[in-house]
């Protein structure tokens, strides 16, 4: 069995899970919701094995390194962390339906990675040969994943708040009745960001430590660094906006969505549209 086969199984599992989640939204049948979650977590387990296997395969090829060194591997890892954080939030707060707005992110990521990218295992260029790569990537992506969950929950909030209109005393019926109350959604988004913000902070710090160790500057305003700081500012603004009155609810939800847009740009946009030290595989040293 090869890791690439298992990654295909994973993609398939996330696809089934997404479809079943939509069926859950349409039918409001609890069993269907449990099946959807179950399939997603089965996918998570397969993906965990696949990542481990790919790690081992790289050693068998004699270029051994953690599977987080190019765009393909990082997307795969990102989708894994998203479902992981979802599982944490699901087990802790027990709102099945959140998965319907989060698993699609993982599906999109995996589908893109499997269909559109070179999946081969590549040897590490000298710039990436460091343990810091591992610490840096893991903390960053766990943070990104928490922000993805916060974004999904905030979208739910915005939909539900729009349907309910200004009259919050009258909860929306139909599909919306399955959504947690908007106050709960608001709180979940805040909690996800409380997980994500320290992780992003750690991600930036480990990145700075690595840069200092490898290049002698912990901060050089390279576009990737700058965008991670922009993302950090946005979430810091989110946290402080909540303290002042009037910024919970819709405005906070929009801020969580904007924050995730900045996160995605930091992760992908910088590599695709801007140039710098972080462009995967392009760096000379």
């Amino acid at each position: 069995m090869s890791s690439s086969m298992l990654f295909n199984v994973t993609t398939f599992a996330y696809m089934i899970s997404t479809v079943v989640f939509f069926a859950f939204l349409a039918s409001k049948n609890k069993t269907i919701g449990s099946v959807a979650s179950f399939v997603a977590y089965a996918g998570l387990i397969v993906q965990t094995v696949a990542i481990g296997l790919r790690w081992k395969e790289s050693y068998d090829m004699g270029v051994g390194h953690a599977p987080m060194s190019n765009l393909y591997e990082s997307i795969v890892f990102f989708t894994w962390t998203i479902v992981l954080i979802l599982a944490y939030i699901d087990f802790r707060y027990k709102y099945r339906v959140v998965g319907a707005f989060v698993v699609p992110f993982s599906l999109l990521g995996m589908a893109w990675a499997q269909l559109g990218m070179n999946t081969g295992i590549e040897p590490l260029v000298p710039a990436l040969q460091s343990n810091w790569l591992l610490y840096h990537v893991i903390t960053c992506f766990l943070g990104y994943a928490a922000f993805a969950v916060a974004c999904g929950v905030s979208i739910m909030y915005l939909i539900k708040a729009a349907v309910e209109g200004d009259d919050a005393s009258k909860p929306a019926g139909g599909m919306m009745s399955m959504f947690p109350p908007i106050k709960v959604l608001d709180d979940l988004s805040y909690r996800a960001i409380m997980i994500g913000f320290p992780l992003l902070t750690l991600g930036i710090i480990t990145g700075a430590a690595w840069a200092n160790y490898a290049w002698g500057t912990y901060w050089s305003w390279d576009p990737k660094e700058t965008w991670s700081l922009i993302t950090w500012f946005v979430y810091a603004a989110y946290l402080h906006a909540r303290i002042t009155r009037g910024w919970v609810g819709k405005r906070a939800a929009w801020l969580a969505v904007i924050g995730f847009a900045a996160t995605l740009f930091c992760y992908l946009g910088v590599n695709l549209f801007l140039s710098g030290l972080h462009s995967y595989g392009n760096s000379k040293m």
């Binding site: 270029v63 590549e122 040897p123 260029v125 000298p126 710039a127 040969q129 460091s130 810091w132 409380m194 913000f197 320290p198 902070t201 750690l202 710090i205 700075a208 430590a209 200092n212 160790y213 490898a214 290049w215 002698g216 500057t217 912990y218 901060w219 305003w221 576009p223 700058t226 965008w227 700081l229 922009i230 500012f233 946005v234 810091a236 603004a237 402080h240 906006a241 303290i243 002042t244 900045a262 910088v270 801007l274 000379k284 040293m285």
Partner: protein, 453 residues
């Protein structure tokens, strides 16, 4: 007059304490930072200058867009941010310290309608209830402080009151990081130096090109590159020796320096950054053998020069490489690209390899060329940095992580038990993360209600 002046100062103070200013600054810094990720920073490439209109170039330059993160207005934003942070903390800290240093030992009437509460009726004497409930709180939560007030006995116990300071640890850490970066920019430098194999340097080039003396010497013993099968580079390696007064420093001889593994000496660190072939003094050796057999001629020549051969043709050495893999997949080792011109026919350009004589011979021609390599030296390019502020920055980072942990994952939990004749009431309060504490409180109040006095 005095009152208006006072209120002006007040207004300024309120302005700098306000969270609105914080939000404005965070958004401004986030938005303006984007400029520097889109426009080139530092030395502008000529193609870029050619591609934009002169008036735009002038405006952007005036606004500092090409060195945006050091422009006066961006630095000003950062300083206002610090002032905001400091004034806000000064305003709020006394209030927070009060929570820590002067706990609310007596539950005021205004707090008695909080949601977490429960009641126990008893028939025994009050002092027995007091000792029994003190013990209960001590076992279940933490040892209480007992206060008598208006005929009631108040038991107060709390946990992690200091966690209210977590946020201020985070804020303080930001200032520490700023201080570290300022120390670095005042007392540190960044430089660059190329060292040719076998030679040494005692100064490096700073940002503006001025040499910065090191106070010691660094010699490059050797530089080498290793490649993967695929041709991608695997390792760039310099062997460096540190010399004081011309003598190698013990422990600093032939130190291996690779990317991600620098050399540090006396607070100055040398990072592997680039490499190349020293332009001076390199001869390349080309062999020319007649196909029919016979002793080959060995020619020494420099890159870019031409030489006349015995048969009247001209050989030009166009370029050479010590690793051909990137240019000719499937081949390895040193190689040279040459141009052979014979009178009356078009010049031929081809590659001759050092390690593949068969391939060299396959070129159907009356002459067989070979490449024997070079005596040219390599140089190693090193980034050089000195930053005495870096440990302050790491201290700030550690404080920030600790502070965030406290701010988000710990909470100040308080429990009061108020005893009067015939009944006791328990009250709970937490400053954040309501749910877990609520659950714990429910559990406790179940036990509380069962107590027999």
């Amino acid at each position: 007059m005095a009152t208006t002046e006072r209120s002006f100062v007040d207004n300024v103070w309120d302005f700098f304490c306000s969270l609105k200013l914080t939000l404005f600054l965070l958004f401004s810094m986030a938005l303006t930072s984007i400029i520097g990720t889109i426009l080139p920073q530092g030395n502008l490439p000529p193609e870029y200058i050619a591609s934009i209109s002169p008036s735009k170039l002038q405006i952007y330059t005036k606004l500092g867009f090409f060195d945006m993160y050091h422009s006066w207005w961006f630095i000003a934003l950062l300083y206002i941010f610090c002032v905001n942070l400091i004034s806000c903390s000064i305003k709020r800290l006394p209030h927070v310290f009060k929570f820590v240093s002067q706990p609310t030992l007596v539950l005021p009437d205004s707090m008695r309608n909080i949601s977490l509460k429960s009641e126990l009726a008893f028939s025994g004497p009050v002092d027995k209830a007091q000792s029994r409930l003190t013990e209960f709180l001590g076992n279940e939560f933490s040892t209480p402080v007992v206060t008598e007030h208006n005929g009631e006995i108040h038991l107060f116990s709390q946990k992690a009151s200091w966690s209210r300071l977590g946020v201020y640890v985070v804020h303080f850490s930001i200032l520490v990081i700023f201080v570290g970066s300022i120390i670095g920019s005042l007392y540190g430098y960044k430089g660059f130096v190329n060292i040719v194999e076998g030679t040494s340097i005692n100064a490096v080039g700073g940002r503006n090109g001025n040499p910065i003396p090191l106070g010691f010497e660094v010699r490059c013993e050797k530089f080498s590159v290793e490649f993967y099968e695929t041709g991608a580079p695997k390792e760039f390696k310099s062997l460096l020796t540190v010399l004081e007064n011309g003598r190698p420093v013990p422990g600093y001889s032939n130190v291996k320096v690779i990317v991600n593994d620098p050399l540090s000496y006396k607070g100055i660190t040398f990072y592997q950054s680039s490499y190349g072939q020293a332009s001076e003094g390199g001869d390349h050796f080309i062999t020319v053998a007649p196909r029919g057999g016979g002793a080959p001629d060995k020619i020494a020549m420099r890159e870019g020069t031409s030489i006349g051969l015995k048969d009247g043709s001209t050989l030009k050495l166009m370029e050479t490489t010590q690793e051909v893999r990137q240019f000719a997949p499937g081949f390895t080792g040193p190689a040279a690209r040459v141009e052979l011109s014979r009178p009356g026919s078009a010049p031929q350009i081809f590659i001759v390899f050092k390690d593949f004589p068969d391939v060299n011979a396959k070129r159907g021609d009356s002459l067989i060329f070979g490449y024997e390599g070079t005596n040219a030296k390599m140089y190693t390019g090193l980034q050089v940095a000195k930053d005495p502020g870096v440990w302050t920055v790491w201290l700030g980072c550690a404080l920030m992580v600790i502070g965030l942990g406290i701010a988000f994952f710990m909470s100040h939990k308080r429990i009061w038990v108020v005893i009067s004749h015939g009944h006791a009431r328990i009250y709970g309060n937490v400053n954040k993360n309501q749910t877990p504490f609520g659950m714990k409180f429910e559990e406790m109040s179940e036990k509380f209600k069962q107590i027999k006095i």
